[in-house]
């Protein structure tokens, strides 16, 4: 890697970690001006920075406000770089349908998972909050998703998660998707009980889980 390129990638990552939107934009513009590959700059610059931010979140150095500011810097840089990505450079992305289950409108956790998945290279369709089980199933089928990600903060709405799995079973398409669950009242035990493929304790963990499940799928295929 040329020195200029390496320096710019490092600066992109630092801009994300430092929550500096302006610097992310300016550095991304420098990448474009230097005719450096935009896709590589996203991967090795912005995404690397976001991964570091995720580590800091895991280590309780960063909390939700910081993580959101990092992701703002990341998206600002992406907006500059995206138009310059060469089509042949783009790898096929894994697709995720995400949402908060019906009855619940708390979506801070879901939004964090969405951001972390997106910045880790997943293509995320966000249904929003208070979403009936059938819509997860329909959307997953429509976009040919790899993963269905379900979130809730309320014990009273946990049943809706099991309902998604039941509907997938009833329609005979359970094996087409990995179902992952998370949120305050959710545990690994609950995930096992309803027949989900995995449980993540926080947003960083959700990325690891999604990667693990889709990697396993690639091997199986």
């Amino acid at each position: 890697m040329s020195e200029v390129k390496e320096k710019l990638f490092k600066e992109l990552a630092a801009a994300v970690v430092d929550m500096d939107e302006d610097k992310a934009v300016a550095t991304a513009e420098a990448v474009v001006a230097a005719k450096i590959d935009a896709y590589e700059a996203i991967e090795k610059g912005l995404s690397a920075g976001m991964e570091r931010a995720g580590e800091l979140f895991d280590e309780e150095e960063y909390f939700i406000p910081e993580l959101l500011m990092c992701s703002d810097a990341m998206y600002a840089g992406m907006d500059v770089l995206k138009p310059h990505i060469r089509q042949d450079a783009v790898a096929e992305k894994r697709r995720v349908v995400i949402g908060v289950i019906e009855g619940d409108t708390h979506d801070i956790g879901k939004n964090l998972v969405k951001i972390m998945l997106e910045t880790s290279g997943f293509d995320v369709t966000d249904l929003g909050r208070d979403i009936p089980p059938a819509r997860f199933v329909d959307t997953a089928r429509e976009i040919d998703a790899d993963i269905i990600a379900l979130s809730t903060l309320m014990t009273t709405t946990m049943d809706g998660m099991g309902e998604v799995v039941r509907q997938l079973n009833a329609e005979g398409i359970r094996d087409s998707f990995k179902v992952i669950v998370g949120g305050g009242p959710i545990s690994q035990g609950f995930a096992d009980r309803i027949g989900a493929d995995g449980y993540a304790v926080n947003a960083a963990d959700a990325v690891r889980l999604a990667r693990r499940l889709t990697a396993a799928e690639a091997v199986a295929a």
């Binding site: 309780e60 939700i64 406000p65 208070d130 014990t155």
Partner: protein, 340 residues
């Protein structure tokens, strides 16, 4: 020593001697109007969110059937956000009300309204009236008025993701919104106290160490919780504060909070917290999930341990699921009452 439930609770909150800990459920975030109670009494939600007599009646049903030694009103966390302009989904028998849509996209766009006028809006007067009826009819049982804390109320009128960002990005307007919300909460609390509330409990689930981190918790949560707590003290009653989630990121900040009791979620070991801060009055923390699970024996054992650990007020850890069983709750309240 024979104490009425009100004397017992107030004694604990004023650091005076008691025969045993009170066992309470404060309403608001810790709503105890579970489905079991409502199907027996016929006074139901969501209707009781709107009418003072129904609210008072249901609160009385809860107190009688659960054994909790207080009245806790209202039954939701949306009274404040409704008055401040957000759109509310009032839920069902099983499902508590929630914010359908926050009214402002950012802290910079908040429209500031006259606080006195807002006290006549929404369900504010109904809650105060329900409190007044309960206090008059049952002078020995404490009425606890429950507030949604300043950080959670602010995050219920401003888009929460944007709000969390702006705690760092737009500190000036963040402080302005929180000052406004805190002033409103103090005025609302004062109204409840005028109506006979013996204590005010603040639940502020967005103000956690896990969400905010220690820096923002100190700058915003400690600052505005204390402002509201001081306002409650000025109104002449003690203040209880519930902090959600794991305390560890913000534990050193706990002594800075001026509440008369601190309630925590189930994962916090209150015995150790008390060892660390001996002057702290603790409240909690029978696991919400354990109570929902319904194993009365386990509930009784956990409750017994908490009493033995010297927890000052026994209460569900982080509210109650509406599908909790009366048997499990009575196992909890019964264990405390036999514990003298």
């Amino acid at each position: 020593m024979s104490l009425s439930p009100k004397e017992r609770l107030l004694n604990v909150l004023h650091n005076k001697n008691v025969d045993r800990p009170p066992v309470i459920c404060t309403g608001g975030m810790m709503n105890a109007a579970i489905v079991d109670v409502m199907t027996q009494s016929g006074r139901t939600l969501p209707e009781a969110h709107f009418e003072a007599d129904l609210m008072a009646g249901l609160s009385r049903d809860v107190q009688e059937q659960t054994g909790f030694e207080n009245f806790g009103i209202p039954f939701c966390m949306t009274v404040e956000a409704e008055v401040l302009g957000s759109e509310i989904d009032f839920g069902t028998l099983e499902c508590e009300p929630k914010i359908r849509q926050e009214v402002f996209p950012s802290v910079g766009t908040v429209i500031y309204r006259d606080i006195r006028q807002m006290l006549d809006a929404g369900r504010i007067r109904k809650v105060a009236e329900a409190g007044l009826r309960l206090a008059k009819a049952h002078p020995d049982v404490p009425v606890i008025g429950s507030l949604t804390g300043p950080v959670s109320t602010a995050a219920s009128i401003v888009d929460p993701m944007q709000f969390l960002r702006e705690l760092r990005k737009d500190r000036e307007n963040s402080h302005r919104v929180l000052t406004y919300v805190a002033d409103f909460l103090i005025a609302y609390a004062r109204l409840l106290v005028d109506g006979g509330a013996s204590a005010i409990c603040i639940g502020d689930p967005t103000a956690t160490g896990e969400i905010l981190g220690p820096r923002a918790f100190e700058e915003y949560a400690v600052e505005y919780l204390n402002k509201v707590i001081d306002g409650i003290h000025d109104a002449g009653v003690p203040a209880i504060l519930h902090i959600c989630g794991d305390l560890k990121a913000v534990k050193p900040l706990v002594p800075k909070l001026r509440a008369d009791a601190i309630s925590t979620d189930a994962m916090v070991n209150l015995r150790l917290l008390k060892e660390e801060y001996p002057t702290l009055t603790t409240m909690g923390n029978v696991s919400t999930y354990l109570l929902e699970d319904g194993d009365s024996e386990k509930v009784a054992r956990t409750t017994e341990r908490l009493v033995k650990d010297g927890v000052d007020i026994i209460s569900p850890a982080c509210g109650l699921s509406t599908s909790s069983s009366l048997a499990a709750i009575n196992a909890m309240t019964g264990t405390v009452k036999e514990s003298r």
